[in-house]
């Protein structure tokens, strides 16, 4: 589905990604764990070309997409993304947030886009908040709208960048429930998270990243429960308390 080959990225003198390789198969739920500053967000942003990697290849269904002749917009239409800070468009209603891509990228007629948007909002349990503005929604509701928005263009894979880190504790559950349902429906997902329960219960594979490198890779149980590297063990012991 998505293959990452030897990705490097530097910002100035800061070497953030130092050669990352892995691949995500159809239906995989891959969790990426690691301390802050280890390059997890940068990695996700490279995967939908919000950031162009300096070196290495990103392959989407076997096609290298980080090439100058491929428009990044085309790639991003097939790779959804959910952000830590939700990033909903503040001047649009929940429905308009979800349908913007359908209307402006897919050129879908408004009534059809609205119908599809309402379906998606119902899927994340927000059928009753269709006309609410982001500022009128709780953090959990905003993040669920953001998930519906990421699903609008029928992406092949959805990237989650710490989707629950900015949420008040009482809203974390509802967002994880939506993500779990999505995973059960067979969506391919890459999730950067510190939610160990989600990683253990839902993920099919896990990565541990530190300092721009992948240190551990395998089943969630192996990566979280029995890491081989000292750094990974130290990190797990801190977050598993």
């Amino acid at each position: 589905m998505i293959t990452v080959e030897d990705i490097h990225k530097s910002f100035g003198s800061l070497h953030v990604l130092k050669g990352i390789s892995f691949d995500v198969r159809r239906g995989d739920v891959l969790v990426v764990i690691g301390p802050s500053g280890s390059g997890k967000s940068t990695l996700l942003r490279c995967m939908n070309l919000l950031i162009q990697p300096d070196r290495g290849r990103i392959l989407l269904e076997g096609v290298q997409v980080n090439r100058p002749e491929i428009r990044p917009e085309w790639v991003r239409q097939q790779v959804g993304m959910v952000f830590q800070q939700f990033n909903l468009f503040a001047h649009f209603t929940a429905l308009e947030n979800v349908t913007l891509g359908l209307r402006k990228v897919r050129r879908m007629p408004s009534d059809e886009a609205d119908r599809r948007g309402k379906e998606l909002l119902a899927r994340v349990g927000l059928a009753h908040k269709v006309n609410a503005y982001p500022a009128e929604l709780s953090g959990g509701q905003q993040q669920r709208v953001a998930i519906a928005r990421a699903l609008a263009l029928d992406p092949k894979v959805v990237l989650f960048d710490e989707p629950t880190s900015a949420l008040d504790p009482e809203y974390i559950r509802e967002v994880l429930d939506v993500m779990t349902k999505l995973a059960r429906d067979g969506m391919t997902m890459v999730v950067v998270t510190h939610e160990i329960g989600f990683a253990r219960g839902v993920a099919t594979r896990a990565l541990f990243m530190d300092d721009g490198l992948v240190l551990e890779q395998g089943t969630p149980e192996a990566v979280i429960g029995a890491p081989r590297h000292e750094r990974a063990r130290a990190f797990m012991s801190k977050i598993l308390t």
Binding site: N48, L50, P72, E73, W74, R76, Q77, G80, M81, F83, Q85, N87, L88, F89, A90, H91, L100, G101, K104, V105, A132, Y133, P134, A135, E136, A146, R149, A150, A152, L153
Partner: protein, 281 residues
């Protein structure tokens, strides 16, 4: 139940149209204009204003007010257009645009508007090869005022652009919108919404800055105020008339500004976003 009483109660509920804030503001603005002119003409009709004083007020009430209104309506759109482009250039992240815009803004804000007006009036036709007529001079002076306000509006628009969180642009790009589409559908609508109150403020300033055109003899309000006051004082020697003339001029400025700020407030209301910086009005 007496039928008449019930009807009275029904009547007391404002009709649906009047509950519309837009409509209410239009009515309010029109009412203020009408009240001021009605009061003046009524005072004249009741003999409270001497015929000589009335004659002195006439040019300001007609030509002066009209010219001030027209000058404002010329300067503001040109100013918004330039200011918007300059503000955009400043946040574009492209030095080729940002740098000249920064120099322009710093330079223009450092020069008194009066000097810009005088300079444009005399040098404009000379430099641009137009005929050295009074009208062409005034047109250049209007452009000078637009340039002056555009420097301030550029900073207002810059603040508007910068108020849109970077994450929303990222989110727009993440669903496959081009950077131009992200700008058009996500950034610009929010830029304008944020900029509006400060723009209204700037427009109110522009209206009063058109008084500087009196310095080049353009027949707007202050020009007629000064003419009538001097003429009146010279011929009739009544100092109170001078005061009344300037009071009326001030009142006319207020009316024009009030109408404009009501229009801005109505636009603000139309573009409000529920839950964001909510002020009930």
């Amino acid at each position: 139940m007496i039928p008449g009483v019930r009807r009275f109660q029904e009547w007391r509920v404002p009709p649906a149209l009047f509950r519309e804030p837009l409509f209410r503001r239009a009515v309010l603005a029109a009412a203020v204009v009408a009240a001021v002119f009605l009061a003046l003409y009524l005072a004249r009709y009741l003999g409270l204003i001497a015929p000589e004083l009335w004659a002195l007020l006439q040019p300001a009430l007609t030509e002066g007010a009209l010219n001030t209104f027209q000058f404002s309506l010329t300067v503001i759109p040109i100013g918004v257009f330039l200011g918007f482009l300059l503000g955009w250039a400043r946040v574009s992240g492209l030095p080729v645009f940002a740098w000249p815009a920064g120099v322009y803004i710093d330079l223009i804000r450092g020069i008194p508007a009066l000097i810009l007006v005088l300079f444009a009036f005399f040098a404009g036709p000379l430099v641009f090869g137009g005929r050295q007529t009074f009208v062409s001079g005034v047109l250049f002076a209007l452009v000078a005022l637009a340039i002056h306000t555009s420097a301030y509006q550029a900073e207002i628009f810059r603040a508007g652009f910068q108020s849109v969180p970077r994450g929303q642009v990222e989110a727009a790009q993440a669903i496959g919108l081009s950077s131009w589409a992200a700008m058009r559908h996500v950034v610009l609508p929010q830029t304008f919404r944020v900029a509006l109150p400060a723009l209204g403020n700037e427009f109110a300033t522009v209206i009063k800055d058109t008084s500087l055109l009196a310095a080049i003899g353009a027949a707007e309000l202050v020009y007629w105020g000064r003419n009538s006051a001097q003429f009146g004082l010279f011929n009739y020697g009544i100092i109170e008339w001078v005061i009344i003339i300037w009071l009326v001029i001030a009142l006319l400025y207020f009316v024009i500004t009030y109408v404009l700020t009501q229009i801005i407030a109505a636009i603000e209301h139309a573009y409000r976003v529920p839950g964001l910086g909510t002020v009930a009005y």
